[in-house]
């Protein structure tokens, strides 16, 4: 586009509120007759940018150029643009006609000209005959259209819309999307539209500006933004996507999940770490071993037009531990005035040094209480002799009254599974529990994770990896004493597939896609 039809130019706009940076240097060109959408989550600065353009806020640095002229110093009422506010901001003390005529009356136009223009506007927004109505008694959609008419009647060069559809219900919102697009095409001026709704942005815009934390992430047409997101953030924000970390081996060759794939992307450094996007609708389900990936169907959700199928192509990392279930483990004093309880427990060889009295009481879950009043008694003495060697070491807890219980501290090496391919590791301990404790658990998966101290982490930077699956072969309601196996797994590589073909949960399938369905993005540091 040439310099001539660039209508608005933001030059390095910075805005801070009391030292907090809201806009970090926005530079953006907006052309005549464009429908531009500023898209981003709340707090990304999109509304601030709009208010700076409208003149309600003054930028801290930078300039706003409007039709070749710096308008930074102009007050809002001298700017050739009008705004449609989020909550419409119709004047409640005026009727529909007076609201729409407000700007024209300020300009001191003659009565018949005003009437002509207002009636034309009412026709444009399909509200003919509403001129005498009280604005406060109209529906949200009608108020919205009047707010648009009130702005457009001034024949601005640019219409600013600040989340104008946010207060409407879904159906009305969809209708208004078409309505807005139609109005924009009919009056042929620039619309700058602020929204956090990606679907709205994709439907209406000529150009989308994706913002995050006061910075522009990407500017482009809806198709560009959808098909060629520049980073993980944009890909996640616009549409649904599978994002997989990978390595760009060389131009047109990308590697992820230990496999090499053809792609159409180029211009990265050899062996650069990248993010790979595959849109769910670009994955086709085929017979096992006949596609580029194999996997297991984990879940199937019906979404109306399509099914959303989650396919695990690389299993997670699993560690299994033993749960030793005992019946009772409390001891009563001879006069039955006191009771005391404790668990045997396992300790990692490396953690033996760190054991102290408090830690042992906590790990053994040692408690003493008066069975009549149910009041806790303090554990006054704790005796143990432990070495940093694999083996069993007895520990005795006793109360002032002399009631005591002995359990074992078992020093072991931790159950630990490393998965180099997925760059992660997972560990857990064998543990002791009583039948009652298991029966009383209300969230058994979470409790099992806690009891076994199950943890997952990345091998590269030791950051946490969530444990997604807990599997066991007992029924918590009817469990009896014995030894049970519990396994914990991290999440594998699960790809989301949108398809109209139904698959069964648990089915083993293949997934196919074309080189152009892969989109490679550079990694962003966040």
């Amino acid at each position: 586009m040439t310099e001539n039809n660039c209508l608005i130019r933001f030059r390095n706009i910075v805005k801070d509120f009391d030292g907090q940076l809201v806009l970090k240097g926005i530079s953006l060109d907006i052309y005549e007759n464009e429908f531009v959408t500023l898209l981003g989550p709340s707090g990304c600065g999109k509304t601030t940018l709009l208010r700076i353009l409208a003149g309600f806020l003054r930028q801290s640095e930078g300039a706003v150029i409007f039709a070749g002229q710096d308008i930074s110093e102009l007050p809002p009422y001298q700017r050739e643009l009008n705004t449609v506010f989020q909550k419409y901001a119709l004047f409640p003390h005026m009727n529909v006609y007076e609201n729409i005529a407000f700007g024209l009356k300020i300009k001191k136009m003659s009565k018949d000209v005003i009437e002509q223009k207002v009636l034309k506007m009412l026709k444009l927004i399909n509200l003919e005959g509403y001129e005498k109505r009280d604005v406060t008694l109209l529906s949200g959609g009608q108020q919205q259209r009047i707010a648009i008419a009130r702005a457009l009647v001034n024949e601005p060069k640019v219409l600013l819309l600040d989340e104008p559809l946010a207060a409407l219900d879904l159906k009305l919102r969809k209708e208004m999307q078409y309505e807005l697009k139609r109005i924009q095409q009919e009056v042929g001026i620039t619309f700058i539209y602020v929204t956090h709704d990606q679907e709205e942005a994709l439907t209406m815009s000529d150009k989308i500006v994706v913002m995050k934390d006061g910075e522009i992430q990407q500017v482009g047409s809806p198709i560009d933004i959808y098909n060629e997101p520049q980073n993980r953030y944009v890909a996640n924000f616009i549409g649904e996507s599978n994002i997989i970390p990978g390595v760009m081996l060389k131009d047109y060759k990308v590697r992820f999940d230990d496999m090499n794939f053809e792609c159409v992307d180029f211009g990265f450094k050899d062996n650069e770490a990248v993010d790979v996007v595959i849109r769910p609708e670009d994955l086709d389900i085929v017979a096992e071993n006949s596609g580029k990936l194999n996997g297991v169907v984990k879940s199937v959700l019906f979404k109306g037009v399509h099914y959303e199928i989650m396919v695990e192509t690389v299993p997670g990392t699993t560690v299994s531990v033993k749960m030793i279930v005992t019946k009772e483990h409390d001891v009563a004093s001879s006069d039955a005035k006191e009771r005391i309880s404790a668990n045997s427990f396992f300790v990692d060889l490396e953690d033996v040094k760190e054991l102290n009295d408090a830690e042992i009481i906590a790990r053994a879950d040692a408690q003493a209480w008066d069975p009549e009043s149910d009041e806790y008694l303090s554990i006054s003495k704790i005796e143990y002799d432990i070495k940093a060697e694999i083996g069993n070491y007895p520990v005795t807890f006793s109360t002032v009254g002399g009631t005591e219980i002995t359990v074992n501290i078992m020093v072991v090496e931790q159950q630990y599974v490393e998965n180099k391919k997925k760059n992660e590791a997972i560990s857990a301990f064998n543990f002791f529990k009583t039948v009652d404790e298991i029966k009383e658990s209300v969230a058994i998966d979470t409790d099992l994770k806690t009891w076994a101290n199950a943890q997952g982490w990345k091998l590269s930077d030791e950051s946490d990896v969530e444990i997604e699956d807990v599997e066991y072969d007992f029924d918590p309601d009817t469990i009896t004493a014995g030894v049970y196996e519990v396994s914990f797994s991290t999440k594998g590589r699960v790809l989301k597939v949108h398809t109209t073909d139904l698959s069964e949960e648990g089915a083993e399938i293949g997934l196919n896609f074309q080189p152009e369905d892969i989109h490679v993005m550079s990694k962003v540091g966040y």
Binding site: Y77, L90, F102, D134
Partner: protein, 282 residues
């Protein structure tokens, strides 16, 4: 529902004893002759005839209405800018200002009004200051000026608070919208801020005019012994003269005037707010 209704009985009883019965007694006194008891009521319009045929009483009524009107108008014109400034200041500041406005009301009105005597008297503070500047001392106390000053001083917080709250709850985006549509600050004030704050002004007017028109303490203290407003006349009839029937009749006349003025202000208020609504039905 029925059991809940019963909870209102104590209030109804209280209202009957404290409000309705005294009112009825005043009506009864106003329409009866002096010196009779409940058993032998003698109805008469004499009290009203007396009031409306006595030029002195009528002129007192006229002066009272005029003073109350001047007070109210002054309260609007002084109070509005103050309310506007308070409403547009930062939240903490706003609270401080409102505290300052209400602070004098914590002190008894009599004491505050007495203070003005000291300030306004012939050898009071104001005249001392005037003399320092070489100006002739002025007669300030016991004039219309001092009475109106006392009334404005006492009643203006009601006006400020009413207007301030209607300004403060105004949707800021309406002001942005007016600016956006080309209105400068003055046009924005005239076309949006002022009309939207009128309900506050109207209730402020009600709250100032009503006590002003029937006030008797302020005119007595700041107007001097001979200064008579209708409130003082009523007070005299009850306390000094002992003419309860005539006093009640004047009270009733005042009650009717107040009722009419309330209806009128309500109408004015509605005509701004409800105009569009009425038109909408056409």
């Amino acid at each position: 529902m029925k059991t809940w209704k019963r909870l209102t009985y104590p209030y109804i009883f209280w209202m009957m004893v404290m409000v309705v019965i005294p009112m009825l007694l005043i009506v009864m006194y106003a329409f009866t002759k002096a010196g009779n008891d409940v058993a032998t009521l003698q109805f008469t319009f004499d009290n009203f005839v007396h009031f409306f045929t006595d030029a002195d009483f009528l002129s007192t009524l006229w002066i009272s209405l005029r003073i109350a009107l001047v007070t109210t108008v002054l309260c609007v014109f002084i109070g509005y800018p103050i309310a506007y400034l308070i409403a547009n200041s930062k939240p903490q500041r706003r609270n401080l200002y409102i505290l300052l406005i209400t602070l004098p009301m914590w002190i008894n009105m009599l004491v505050r009004t007495y203070a003005w005597i000291g300030i306004l008297s012939d050898n009071g503070l104001v005249n001392h200051v005037l003399q320092w500047f070489g100006l002739a001392p002025q007669k300030l106390l016991y004039t219309d000026f001092s009475v109106i000053l006392g009334m404005v001083y006492n009643f203006i917080p009601f006006m400020i608070l009413q207007i301030e709250s209607s300004l403060a709850k105004m949707d800021r985006s309406l002001l942005d919208a007016a600016n956006d549509l080309g209105a400068n600050r003055w046009q924005r004030f005239c076309k949006v801020t002022l009309p939207l704050s009128l309900p506050g002004v109207v209730s402020g007017i009600t709250l100032v005019f009503l006590p002003a028109v029937s006030s008797f303490v302020i005119p007595k203290l700041l107007g001097g012994g001979g200064y008579m407003l209708i409130g003082n006349v009523i007070e005299n009839q009850f306390i000094t003269v002992g003419e309860w029937n005539f006093g009640s009749a004047i009270s009733m006349v005042m009650a009717v005037i107040i009722m009419i003025s309330m209806v009128v202000t309500r109408k004015l208020d509605k005509s701004d707010e409800g105009l569009t609504r009425k038109r909408g039905k056409v």
